[in-house]
Amino acid sequence: MTLAEKILAAHCGKDKVSAGDFISAKCDLVLSNDITAPIAIREFERLGFPHVFDPNKIVMVPDHFCPNKDIQSATQAAMMREFAGKHGLIYFEVGEMGIEHVILPEKGLALPGQVIVGADSHTCTYGALGTFATGMGSTDIAVAMATGEIWMKVPPTIKFVYHGKPGKWTGGKDLILYTIGDIGVDGALYSAMEFHGEAINNLGMDGRFTMSNMAIEAGGKAGLFQVDGATLRYLKGRARGKYTVYASDVDAEYARVIEYDAAKIEPQVAFPHLPSNTRPISLVGNVAIDQSVIGSCTNGRLDDLRLAARVLKGRKVDPHVRCIILPGSQQIYLEALKEGLIEIFIRAGAAVSTPTCGPCLGGHMGILAAGERCVSTTNRNFVGRMGHPRSEVYLANPAVAAASAILGRIAGPEEVK
Protein backbone atom coordinates (compact mmCIF):
# COMPACT_ATOMS: atom_id res chain seq x y z
CA MET A 1 0.00 0.00 0.00
CA THR A 2 0.98 3.62 -0.42
CA LEU A 3 1.35 5.95 2.56
CA ALA A 4 -2.13 7.40 1.88
CA GLU A 5 -3.69 3.94 1.68
CA LYS A 6 -2.04 2.80 4.92
CA ILE A 7 -3.23 5.82 6.88
CA LEU A 8 -6.75 5.58 5.50
CA ALA A 9 -6.94 1.81 6.13
CA ALA A 10 -5.95 2.39 9.76
CA HIS A 11 -8.70 5.01 10.08
CA CYS A 12 -11.54 2.89 8.74
CA GLY A 13 -10.73 -0.31 10.60
CA LYS A 14 -9.53 -2.25 7.57
CA ASP A 15 -6.31 -4.14 6.91
CA LYS A 16 -6.21 -3.00 3.32
CA VAL A 17 -7.79 -0.35 1.13
CA SER A 18 -7.19 0.39 -2.52
CA ALA A 19 -7.63 3.41 -4.76
CA GLY A 20 -11.31 3.88 -5.58
CA ASP A 21 -12.71 2.31 -2.38
CA PHE A 22 -15.35 4.36 -0.59
CA ILE A 23 -14.63 4.50 3.13
CA SER A 24 -15.77 6.31 6.24
CA ALA A 25 -12.59 7.58 7.90
CA LYS A 26 -12.20 8.58 11.55
CA CYS A 27 -10.83 12.10 11.91
CA ASP A 28 -8.02 13.06 14.29
CA LEU A 29 -8.47 16.79 13.76
CA VAL A 30 -11.26 18.85 12.22
CA LEU A 31 -10.40 22.41 11.24
CA SER A 32 -12.21 25.54 10.12
CA ASN A 33 -11.54 29.28 9.94
CA ASP A 34 -13.41 32.58 10.16
CA ILE A 35 -14.69 32.26 6.57
CA THR A 36 -15.72 28.61 6.51
CA ALA A 37 -16.75 28.09 10.16
CA PRO A 38 -19.92 30.21 9.99
CA ILE A 39 -21.44 27.88 7.37
CA ALA A 40 -20.13 24.80 9.18
CA ILE A 41 -21.75 26.03 12.42
CA ARG A 42 -25.07 26.70 10.66
CA GLU A 43 -25.02 23.21 9.12
CA PHE A 44 -23.92 21.61 12.40
CA GLU A 45 -26.92 23.19 14.09
CA ARG A 46 -29.19 21.96 11.32
CA LEU A 47 -27.90 18.43 11.97
CA GLY A 48 -29.34 18.60 15.47
CA PHE A 49 -26.44 17.02 17.39
CA PRO A 50 -26.23 18.49 20.91
CA HIS A 51 -22.43 18.12 21.15
CA VAL A 52 -19.41 17.89 18.91
CA PHE A 53 -17.82 14.42 18.77
CA ASP A 54 -14.69 15.52 20.68
CA PRO A 55 -13.87 19.16 21.52
CA ASN A 56 -10.15 18.32 21.77
CA LYS A 57 -10.10 17.34 18.11
CA ILE A 58 -11.79 20.41 16.68
CA VAL A 59 -9.77 23.51 15.91
CA MET A 60 -11.00 26.93 14.87
CA VAL A 61 -8.62 29.66 13.78
CA PRO A 62 -9.50 33.28 12.99
CA ASP A 63 -6.97 34.07 10.25
CA HIS A 64 -8.50 35.01 6.89
CA PHE A 65 -10.11 38.38 7.59
CA CYS A 66 -8.64 38.65 11.10
CA PRO A 67 -7.77 40.83 12.91
CA ASN A 68 -11.30 41.73 11.81
CA LYS A 69 -11.24 43.90 8.70
CA ASP A 70 -14.84 45.12 8.74
CA ILE A 71 -18.16 44.71 10.54
CA GLN A 72 -19.26 41.70 8.50
CA SER A 73 -15.95 39.91 9.12
CA ALA A 74 -16.18 40.77 12.80
CA THR A 75 -19.68 39.27 12.90
CA GLN A 76 -18.48 36.03 11.32
CA ALA A 77 -15.47 35.85 13.65
CA ALA A 78 -17.76 36.46 16.64
CA MET A 79 -20.00 33.59 15.55
CA MET A 80 -16.99 31.29 15.49
CA ARG A 81 -15.60 32.54 18.83
CA GLU A 82 -18.94 31.99 20.51
CA PHE A 83 -19.37 28.47 19.12
CA ALA A 84 -15.79 27.51 20.03
CA GLY A 85 -16.36 28.79 23.57
CA LYS A 86 -19.71 27.07 24.00
CA HIS A 87 -18.34 23.69 22.89
CA GLY A 88 -14.88 24.06 24.45
CA LEU A 89 -13.00 23.70 21.15
CA ILE A 90 -9.34 24.43 20.50
CA TYR A 91 -9.32 28.07 19.48
CA PHE A 92 -6.50 30.54 18.90
CA GLU A 93 -7.31 34.20 19.48
CA VAL A 94 -5.33 36.87 17.62
CA GLY A 95 -2.72 37.28 20.35
CA GLU A 96 -1.51 33.70 19.94
CA MET A 97 -2.70 33.27 16.45
CA GLY A 98 -1.20 32.58 13.13
CA ILE A 99 -2.28 31.22 9.81
CA GLU A 100 -4.06 27.93 10.51
CA HIS A 101 -1.70 25.80 8.40
CA VAL A 102 1.33 27.35 10.04
CA ILE A 103 0.17 26.98 13.64
CA LEU A 104 -1.35 23.49 13.63
CA PRO A 105 2.05 21.87 12.95
CA GLU A 106 3.90 24.49 15.02
CA LYS A 107 1.78 23.79 18.10
CA GLY A 108 2.20 20.04 17.70
CA LEU A 109 -1.45 19.39 16.85
CA ALA A 110 -0.88 17.99 13.36
CA LEU A 111 1.02 14.71 13.65
CA PRO A 112 2.22 11.87 11.41
CA GLY A 113 -0.26 9.12 10.55
CA GLN A 114 -3.32 11.22 11.35
CA VAL A 115 -6.33 11.97 9.18
CA ILE A 116 -7.02 15.71 9.28
CA VAL A 117 -9.89 17.38 7.47
CA GLY A 118 -10.25 21.11 7.23
CA ALA A 119 -12.64 23.59 5.68
CA ASP A 120 -9.79 25.17 3.82
CA SER A 121 -8.27 23.87 0.63
CA HIS A 122 -4.71 24.23 1.93
CA THR A 123 -5.32 21.74 4.74
CA CYS A 124 -3.13 19.45 2.59
CA THR A 125 -0.14 21.32 4.09
CA TYR A 126 0.17 18.78 6.93
CA GLY A 127 1.12 16.09 4.42
CA ALA A 128 4.67 17.31 5.02
CA LEU A 129 4.50 15.46 8.36
CA GLY A 130 3.31 12.19 6.81
CA THR A 131 -0.28 13.09 7.67
CA PHE A 132 -3.28 12.42 5.43
CA ALA A 133 -4.75 15.91 5.41
CA THR A 134 -7.26 17.25 2.94
CA GLY A 135 -9.51 20.24 2.37
CA MET A 136 -13.29 20.02 2.28
CA GLY A 137 -16.28 22.32 2.38
CA SER A 138 -18.15 23.57 5.40
CA THR A 139 -20.96 20.99 5.24
CA ASP A 140 -18.48 18.11 5.28
CA ILE A 141 -16.78 19.76 8.23
CA ALA A 142 -20.11 20.16 10.04
CA VAL A 143 -20.66 16.42 9.70
CA ALA A 144 -17.10 15.66 10.81
CA MET A 145 -17.57 17.92 13.88
CA ALA A 146 -20.73 16.00 14.78
CA THR A 147 -19.73 12.42 14.00
CA GLY A 148 -15.93 12.39 13.94
CA GLU A 149 -16.06 10.63 10.60
CA ILE A 150 -16.02 11.61 6.97
CA TRP A 151 -16.77 9.72 3.77
CA MET A 152 -13.92 9.57 1.35
CA LYS A 153 -12.85 7.85 -1.81
CA VAL A 154 -9.37 6.38 -1.42
CA PRO A 155 -7.24 8.30 -3.94
CA PRO A 156 -4.73 6.82 -6.33
CA THR A 157 -1.19 8.04 -5.58
CA ILE A 158 1.21 9.68 -8.02
CA LYS A 159 4.85 9.39 -7.00
CA PHE A 160 7.16 12.32 -7.75
CA VAL A 161 10.91 11.74 -7.55
CA TYR A 162 13.28 14.72 -7.50
CA HIS A 163 16.80 13.55 -8.27
CA GLY A 164 19.95 15.56 -7.66
CA LYS A 165 20.73 18.70 -5.70
CA PRO A 166 18.82 21.88 -6.49
CA GLY A 167 20.69 25.17 -6.97
CA LYS A 168 21.26 27.70 -4.19
CA TRP A 169 18.05 29.67 -4.73
CA THR A 170 15.76 26.78 -5.69
CA GLY A 171 13.54 25.66 -2.82
CA GLY A 172 10.35 23.76 -2.13
CA LYS A 173 8.30 26.52 -3.79
CA ASP A 174 10.21 26.09 -7.03
CA LEU A 175 10.00 22.29 -7.03
CA ILE A 176 6.24 22.40 -6.56
CA LEU A 177 5.66 25.25 -9.05
CA TYR A 178 7.77 23.38 -11.60
CA THR A 179 5.71 20.24 -10.97
CA ILE A 180 2.40 22.08 -11.35
CA GLY A 181 3.76 23.70 -14.51
CA ASP A 182 4.53 20.24 -15.82
CA ILE A 183 1.35 18.35 -14.90
CA GLY A 184 -1.15 21.23 -14.95
CA VAL A 185 -3.71 22.51 -12.44
CA ASP A 186 -5.68 19.27 -12.75
CA GLY A 187 -2.64 17.02 -13.23
CA ALA A 188 -3.17 15.32 -9.88
CA LEU A 189 -6.98 15.66 -9.77
CA TYR A 190 -8.51 13.43 -7.06
CA SER A 191 -5.03 11.93 -6.40
CA ALA A 192 -2.55 11.88 -3.56
CA MET A 193 0.90 13.19 -4.46
CA GLU A 194 3.89 11.54 -2.79
CA PHE A 195 7.25 13.35 -2.84
CA HIS A 196 10.54 11.44 -2.94
CA GLY A 197 14.17 11.74 -4.03
CA GLU A 198 17.51 13.19 -3.03
CA ALA A 199 16.31 16.78 -3.29
CA ILE A 200 13.41 15.95 -0.97
CA ASN A 201 15.63 14.22 1.59
CA ASN A 202 17.70 17.40 1.81
CA LEU A 203 14.71 19.72 2.01
CA GLY A 204 13.95 21.24 5.44
CA MET A 205 10.50 20.99 7.01
CA ASP A 206 9.52 24.51 5.97
CA GLY A 207 10.22 23.69 2.32
CA ARG A 208 8.21 20.49 2.68
CA PHE A 209 5.23 22.38 4.10
CA THR A 210 5.40 24.64 1.04
CA MET A 211 5.27 21.68 -1.32
CA SER A 212 2.43 19.85 0.45
CA ASN A 213 0.55 23.15 0.70
CA MET A 214 0.37 23.51 -3.08
CA ALA A 215 -0.73 19.93 -3.87
CA ILE A 216 -4.25 21.36 -4.19
CA GLU A 217 -2.97 23.67 -6.95
CA ALA A 218 -2.46 20.53 -9.06
CA GLY A 219 -5.95 19.32 -8.06
CA GLY A 220 -4.45 16.90 -5.51
CA LYS A 221 -6.32 15.55 -2.52
CA ALA A 222 -3.15 15.29 -0.42
CA GLY A 223 0.60 15.93 -0.78
CA LEU A 224 2.58 13.49 1.31
CA PHE A 225 6.13 13.07 2.54
CA GLN A 226 7.61 10.04 4.26
CA VAL A 227 8.60 10.65 7.88
CA ASP A 228 12.40 10.90 8.28
CA GLY A 229 14.98 12.35 10.63
CA ALA A 230 14.00 15.92 9.78
CA THR A 231 10.36 15.19 10.60
CA LEU A 232 11.23 13.57 13.92
CA ARG A 233 13.49 16.46 14.90
CA TYR A 234 10.68 18.89 14.09
CA LEU A 235 8.24 16.93 16.25
CA LYS A 236 10.55 16.56 19.24
CA GLY A 237 9.27 18.59 22.17
CA ARG A 238 6.37 19.79 20.04
CA ALA A 239 4.05 16.84 19.48
CA ARG A 240 1.02 17.11 21.77
CA GLY A 241 0.28 13.40 21.65
CA LYS A 242 1.45 9.99 20.46
CA TYR A 243 1.57 9.26 16.78
CA THR A 244 2.11 6.38 14.39
CA VAL A 245 4.58 6.53 11.54
CA TYR A 246 3.51 4.84 8.32
CA ALA A 247 5.60 4.39 5.19
CA SER A 248 4.77 3.35 1.66
CA ASP A 249 5.57 -0.28 0.88
CA VAL A 250 8.31 -0.93 -1.64
CA ASP A 251 5.75 -2.71 -3.82
CA ALA A 252 3.07 -0.02 -3.38
CA GLU A 253 0.96 0.58 -6.47
CA TYR A 254 1.29 4.04 -7.98
CA ALA A 255 -0.95 5.48 -10.68
CA ARG A 256 2.14 7.14 -12.18
CA VAL A 257 5.76 7.78 -11.31
CA ILE A 258 7.16 11.12 -12.48
CA GLU A 259 10.87 11.91 -12.19
CA TYR A 260 12.67 15.24 -12.35
CA ASP A 261 16.27 16.39 -12.23
CA ALA A 262 16.15 18.99 -9.45
CA ALA A 263 19.59 20.31 -10.42
CA LYS A 264 18.02 21.67 -13.60
CA ILE A 265 15.10 23.41 -11.89
CA GLU A 266 15.65 27.16 -11.62
CA PRO A 267 13.58 29.40 -9.35
CA GLN A 268 10.12 29.44 -10.95
CA VAL A 269 7.60 32.22 -11.51
CA ALA A 270 3.93 31.44 -12.20
CA PHE A 271 2.46 34.10 -14.47
CA PRO A 272 -1.19 35.16 -14.33
CA HIS A 273 -3.72 33.61 -14.09
CA LEU A 274 -2.89 30.00 -13.22
CA PRO A 275 -0.29 28.44 -10.91
CA SER A 276 0.65 26.14 -13.81
CA ASN A 277 1.65 29.06 -16.03
CA THR A 278 5.28 28.82 -14.92
CA ARG A 279 8.54 30.08 -16.36
CA PRO A 280 12.09 29.73 -15.05
CA ILE A 281 13.37 33.03 -13.65
CA SER A 282 15.85 33.36 -16.55
CA LEU A 283 12.94 33.58 -19.02
CA VAL A 284 10.73 36.03 -17.13
CA GLY A 285 11.77 39.15 -19.06
CA ASN A 286 11.05 42.66 -17.85
CA VAL A 287 7.97 42.61 -15.63
CA ALA A 288 7.65 45.75 -13.51
CA ILE A 289 5.86 45.32 -10.19
CA ASP A 290 3.93 47.52 -7.76
CA GLN A 291 3.90 45.18 -4.78
CA SER A 292 5.75 42.22 -3.29
CA VAL A 293 4.11 40.01 -0.68
CA ILE A 294 6.15 37.61 1.44
CA GLY A 295 4.16 35.33 3.73
CA SER A 296 1.05 33.07 3.73
CA CYS A 297 0.42 29.41 4.56
CA THR A 298 2.70 28.64 1.63
CA ASN A 299 5.78 30.71 2.49
CA GLY A 300 5.32 32.45 5.85
CA ARG A 301 7.64 30.26 7.94
CA LEU A 302 10.99 31.07 9.51
CA ASP A 303 13.14 29.62 6.70
CA ASP A 304 11.14 31.72 4.24
CA LEU A 305 11.74 34.90 6.24
CA ARG A 306 15.45 34.04 6.59
CA LEU A 307 15.68 33.66 2.83
CA ALA A 308 14.00 37.02 2.25
CA ALA A 309 16.27 38.64 4.84
CA ARG A 310 19.40 37.30 3.15
CA VAL A 311 18.39 39.18 0.03
CA LEU A 312 17.04 42.33 1.72
CA LYS A 313 19.86 42.79 4.26
CA GLY A 314 21.54 46.16 3.81
CA ARG A 315 19.47 46.93 0.73
CA LYS A 316 16.45 49.10 0.00
CA VAL A 317 13.07 48.25 -1.47
CA ASP A 318 12.43 50.21 -4.68
CA PRO A 319 10.51 53.37 -3.68
CA HIS A 320 7.74 52.50 -6.15
CA VAL A 321 7.17 49.06 -4.62
CA ARG A 322 5.09 48.18 -1.55
CA CYS A 323 6.85 45.25 0.08
CA ILE A 324 4.61 43.59 2.68
CA ILE A 325 5.95 40.82 4.90
CA LEU A 326 3.64 38.68 7.03
CA PRO A 327 5.16 36.16 9.44
CA GLY A 328 2.91 33.09 9.55
CA SER A 329 2.48 32.99 13.32
CA GLN A 330 3.22 34.92 16.50
CA GLN A 331 5.94 32.36 17.28
CA ILE A 332 7.61 32.92 13.90
CA TYR A 333 7.26 36.69 14.35
CA LEU A 334 9.04 36.39 17.70
CA GLU A 335 11.82 34.18 16.31
CA ALA A 336 12.28 36.56 13.40
CA LEU A 337 12.49 39.43 15.86
CA LYS A 338 15.14 37.63 17.93
CA GLU A 339 17.19 36.79 14.84
CA GLY A 340 17.09 40.41 13.70
CA LEU A 341 15.09 39.64 10.56
CA ILE A 342 12.32 42.12 11.36
CA GLU A 343 14.86 44.91 11.73
CA ILE A 344 16.37 43.98 8.36
CA PHE A 345 12.91 44.15 6.78
CA ILE A 346 11.97 47.49 8.29
CA ARG A 347 15.35 49.07 7.52
CA ALA A 348 14.98 47.84 3.93
CA GLY A 349 11.65 49.69 3.70
CA ALA A 350 9.25 46.76 3.98
CA ALA A 351 6.01 46.81 5.97
CA VAL A 352 5.73 43.99 8.51
CA SER A 353 2.26 42.81 9.49
CA THR A 354 0.77 40.73 12.25
CA PRO A 355 0.04 37.18 10.99
CA THR A 356 -2.99 36.93 8.70
CA CYS A 357 -4.02 35.35 5.38
CA GLY A 358 -4.96 38.95 4.45
CA PRO A 359 -3.69 39.88 0.99
CA CYS A 360 -3.31 36.32 -0.36
CA LEU A 361 -7.02 36.06 -1.07
CA GLY A 362 -7.67 39.75 -1.58
CA GLY A 363 -9.00 40.13 1.95
CA HIS A 364 -7.07 43.04 3.44
CA MET A 365 -3.51 44.27 4.14
CA GLY A 366 -2.37 44.73 0.54
CA ILE A 367 -5.17 44.79 -2.03
CA LEU A 368 -4.31 45.58 -5.66
CA ALA A 369 -5.85 48.32 -7.81
CA ALA A 370 -6.73 47.88 -11.50
CA GLY A 371 -3.63 47.35 -13.61
CA GLU A 372 -1.32 46.70 -10.65
CA ARG A 373 1.12 43.82 -10.52
CA CYS A 374 2.27 41.89 -7.48
CA VAL A 375 4.92 39.24 -7.06
CA SER A 376 3.83 37.05 -4.21
CA THR A 377 4.99 34.00 -2.28
CA THR A 378 1.36 32.88 -1.94
CA ASN A 379 -0.33 30.03 -3.78
CA ARG A 380 -2.87 31.35 -6.28
CA ASN A 381 -2.80 33.89 -9.08
CA PHE A 382 -6.36 33.58 -10.36
CA VAL A 383 -8.19 36.57 -11.86
CA GLY A 384 -8.95 39.03 -9.04
CA ARG A 385 -7.27 36.88 -6.41
CA MET A 386 -5.54 39.78 -4.64
CA GLY A 387 -7.90 42.56 -5.55
CA HIS A 388 -9.17 44.17 -8.74
CA PRO A 389 -10.05 41.72 -11.53
CA ARG A 390 -7.62 43.62 -13.75
CA SER A 391 -4.68 43.23 -11.35
CA GLU A 392 -2.03 40.54 -11.77
CA VAL A 393 -0.30 38.14 -9.38
CA TYR A 394 3.00 36.36 -10.09
CA LEU A 395 3.88 33.49 -7.77
CA ALA A 396 7.47 32.97 -6.68
CA ASN A 397 9.74 31.96 -3.79
CA PRO A 398 10.69 34.40 -0.98
CA ALA A 399 14.15 35.15 -2.42
CA VAL A 400 12.66 36.10 -5.78
CA ALA A 401 9.94 38.18 -4.10
CA ALA A 402 12.61 40.01 -2.06
CA ALA A 403 14.90 40.58 -5.06
CA SER A 404 11.93 41.83 -7.08
CA ALA A 405 11.00 44.29 -4.31
CA ILE A 406 14.52 45.76 -4.50
CA LEU A 407 14.71 45.97 -8.28
CA GLY A 408 11.10 46.99 -8.96
CA ARG A 409 10.69 44.18 -11.47
CA ILE A 410 10.55 40.42 -11.21
CA ALA A 411 14.14 39.32 -10.64
CA GLY A 412 16.21 36.51 -9.24
CA PRO A 413 18.32 37.09 -6.10
CA GLU A 414 21.52 36.82 -8.14
CA GLU A 415 20.60 39.99 -10.04
CA VAL A 416 20.71 42.03 -6.84
CA LYS A 417 24.08 43.70 -6.53
Binding site: T36, L47, T139, D140, K221, L361, G363, R380, V383, R385
Partner: protein
Amino acid sequence: MPHKGKIHKYGDNIDTDAIIAARYLNMHEPRELAAHCMEDIDADFVQRVKPGDIIVAESNFGCGSSREHAPSAIKASGISCVIGKSFARIFFRNAINTGLPLLESAEAVENIKQGDTVEVDLATGTITNLSSGKTFKAKPYPDFMMEIINAGGLIEHIRKKSVGAR
Protein backbone atom coordinates in the same frame (compact mmCIF):
# COMPACT_ATOMS: atom_id res chain seq x y z
CA MET B 1 -37.45 23.95 -10.28
CA PRO B 2 -37.20 22.38 -13.73
CA HIS B 3 -33.67 21.65 -14.95
CA LYS B 4 -34.26 23.47 -18.17
CA GLY B 5 -32.99 26.79 -19.44
CA LYS B 6 -30.47 28.80 -21.40
CA ILE B 7 -26.79 27.91 -21.37
CA HIS B 8 -24.04 30.04 -19.85
CA LYS B 9 -20.84 28.59 -21.27
CA TYR B 10 -17.34 28.87 -19.76
CA GLY B 11 -13.86 27.50 -20.44
CA ASP B 12 -11.32 25.39 -18.55
CA ASN B 13 -10.28 25.81 -14.89
CA ILE B 14 -13.03 28.18 -13.73
CA ASP B 15 -11.81 28.76 -10.19
CA THR B 16 -13.75 29.49 -7.03
CA ASP B 17 -12.42 33.08 -6.93
CA ALA B 18 -14.08 33.59 -10.33
CA ILE B 19 -17.32 32.01 -9.10
CA ILE B 20 -17.41 34.12 -5.95
CA ALA B 21 -14.51 36.49 -5.20
CA ALA B 22 -13.03 36.25 -1.70
CA ARG B 23 -13.87 39.90 -1.01
CA TYR B 24 -17.49 38.76 -0.60
CA LEU B 25 -16.68 35.99 1.86
CA ASN B 26 -17.42 38.30 4.75
CA MET B 27 -20.99 37.19 3.96
CA HIS B 28 -22.39 33.67 3.88
CA GLU B 29 -26.08 33.96 2.99
CA PRO B 30 -26.60 32.33 -0.44
CA ARG B 31 -28.78 35.18 -1.77
CA GLU B 32 -26.17 37.81 -0.85
CA LEU B 33 -23.45 35.74 -2.49
CA ALA B 34 -25.54 35.12 -5.62
CA ALA B 35 -25.59 38.88 -6.31
CA HIS B 36 -21.84 38.62 -7.09
CA CYS B 37 -21.72 35.22 -8.77
CA MET B 38 -19.20 35.01 -11.68
CA GLU B 39 -18.68 38.78 -11.33
CA ASP B 40 -14.97 38.97 -12.18
CA ILE B 41 -15.13 36.89 -15.37
CA ASP B 42 -18.70 37.58 -16.57
CA ALA B 43 -19.98 40.88 -15.22
CA ASP B 44 -23.52 40.53 -16.74
CA PHE B 45 -24.10 36.96 -15.56
CA VAL B 46 -26.25 38.04 -12.63
CA GLN B 47 -28.45 40.21 -14.89
CA ARG B 48 -28.78 37.50 -17.57
CA VAL B 49 -29.37 34.39 -15.51
CA LYS B 50 -32.95 33.07 -15.21
CA PRO B 51 -34.24 30.31 -12.91
CA GLY B 52 -33.54 26.90 -14.46
CA ASP B 53 -30.57 28.08 -16.56
CA ILE B 54 -27.57 25.78 -16.85
CA ILE B 55 -23.82 26.39 -16.73
CA VAL B 56 -21.70 24.39 -19.18
CA ALA B 57 -17.95 24.39 -18.60
CA GLU B 58 -14.86 22.63 -19.86
CA SER B 59 -12.45 20.79 -17.50
CA ASN B 60 -11.70 21.27 -13.79
CA PHE B 61 -14.66 23.54 -13.00
CA GLY B 62 -14.52 24.88 -9.43
CA CYS B 63 -10.78 24.53 -8.85
CA GLY B 64 -9.12 26.47 -6.04
CA SER B 65 -10.49 27.11 -2.59
CA SER B 66 -12.78 24.97 -0.46
CA ARG B 67 -15.36 27.74 -0.14
CA GLU B 68 -18.81 26.23 -0.13
CA HIS B 69 -19.94 29.75 -0.95
CA ALA B 70 -19.20 28.86 -4.61
CA PRO B 71 -21.86 26.18 -5.24
CA SER B 72 -24.21 28.09 -2.90
CA ALA B 73 -23.84 31.26 -4.98
CA ILE B 74 -24.40 29.37 -8.23
CA LYS B 75 -27.47 27.61 -6.88
CA ALA B 76 -28.99 30.77 -5.40
CA SER B 77 -28.41 32.64 -8.68
CA GLY B 78 -31.03 30.37 -10.27
CA ILE B 79 -28.71 27.91 -12.03
CA SER B 80 -30.34 24.47 -11.91
CA CYS B 81 -27.26 22.34 -12.67
CA VAL B 82 -23.72 22.45 -14.07
CA ILE B 83 -22.51 20.29 -16.95
CA GLY B 84 -18.74 19.92 -17.30
CA LYS B 85 -15.99 17.72 -18.68
CA SER B 86 -14.60 17.39 -15.15
CA PHE B 87 -14.94 19.05 -11.76
CA ALA B 88 -12.40 19.96 -9.09
CA ARG B 89 -12.53 17.59 -6.14
CA ILE B 90 -13.64 19.86 -3.27
CA PHE B 91 -16.13 21.72 -5.44
CA PHE B 92 -17.62 18.38 -6.46
CA ARG B 93 -18.17 17.35 -2.83
CA ASN B 94 -19.54 20.76 -1.92
CA ALA B 95 -22.01 20.74 -4.78
CA ILE B 96 -23.29 17.26 -3.93
CA ASN B 97 -23.50 18.18 -0.25
CA THR B 98 -25.45 21.36 -0.87
CA GLY B 99 -27.75 20.03 -3.59
CA LEU B 100 -26.34 21.61 -6.75
CA PRO B 101 -26.45 18.82 -9.36
CA LEU B 102 -23.31 18.33 -11.49
CA LEU B 103 -23.23 16.29 -14.68
CA GLU B 104 -20.06 15.02 -16.30
CA SER B 105 -20.19 14.62 -20.09
CA ALA B 106 -17.43 15.72 -22.45
CA GLU B 107 -19.69 15.02 -25.43
CA ALA B 108 -22.42 17.31 -24.13
CA VAL B 109 -19.89 20.08 -23.48
CA GLU B 110 -18.57 19.78 -27.05
CA ASN B 111 -22.07 19.96 -28.50
CA ILE B 112 -23.68 22.74 -26.48
CA LYS B 113 -23.18 26.42 -27.32
CA GLN B 114 -23.68 29.63 -25.38
CA GLY B 115 -27.38 30.53 -25.52
CA ASP B 116 -28.68 27.05 -26.43
CA THR B 117 -31.68 25.78 -24.50
CA VAL B 118 -31.00 22.52 -22.70
CA GLU B 119 -33.09 20.18 -20.57
CA VAL B 120 -31.66 17.72 -18.05
CA ASP B 121 -33.33 14.64 -16.58
CA LEU B 122 -31.39 14.08 -13.38
CA ALA B 123 -32.90 10.66 -12.68
CA THR B 124 -31.51 9.20 -15.88
CA GLY B 125 -28.60 11.61 -16.49
CA THR B 126 -30.03 12.49 -19.90
CA ILE B 127 -29.03 15.87 -21.30
CA THR B 128 -31.10 17.14 -24.23
CA ASN B 129 -30.01 20.11 -26.29
CA LEU B 130 -33.44 21.45 -27.36
CA SER B 131 -31.74 23.89 -29.77
CA SER B 132 -30.09 21.11 -31.79
CA GLY B 133 -32.22 18.08 -30.85
CA LYS B 134 -29.16 16.09 -29.74
CA THR B 135 -29.13 14.05 -26.53
CA PHE B 136 -26.24 13.00 -24.31
CA LYS B 137 -25.77 10.76 -21.31
CA ALA B 138 -23.91 11.91 -18.20
CA LYS B 139 -21.55 9.62 -16.30
CA PRO B 140 -23.61 7.94 -13.54
CA TYR B 141 -22.86 8.69 -9.86
CA PRO B 142 -21.60 5.90 -7.57
CA ASP B 143 -24.44 4.44 -5.43
CA PHE B 144 -22.91 5.92 -2.30
CA MET B 145 -23.27 9.43 -3.70
CA MET B 146 -26.75 8.78 -5.06
CA GLU B 147 -27.86 8.17 -1.46
CA ILE B 148 -26.67 11.66 -0.50
CA ILE B 149 -28.27 13.21 -3.58
CA ASN B 150 -31.57 11.40 -3.03
CA ALA B 151 -31.64 12.47 0.62
CA GLY B 152 -31.36 16.10 -0.54
CA GLY B 153 -27.79 16.76 0.60
CA LEU B 154 -25.33 15.52 3.19
CA ILE B 155 -27.04 17.03 6.26
CA GLU B 156 -30.35 15.34 5.43
CA HIS B 157 -28.52 12.09 4.65
CA ILE B 158 -26.75 12.08 8.05
CA ARG B 159 -29.93 13.10 9.88
CA LYS B 160 -31.76 10.18 8.33
CA LYS B 161 -28.95 7.78 9.18
CA SER B 162 -28.60 8.97 12.77
CA VAL B 163 -32.36 8.74 13.35
CA GLY B 164 -32.27 5.20 11.97
CA ALA B 165 -29.44 4.32 14.35
CA ARG B 166 -31.16 5.63 17.48
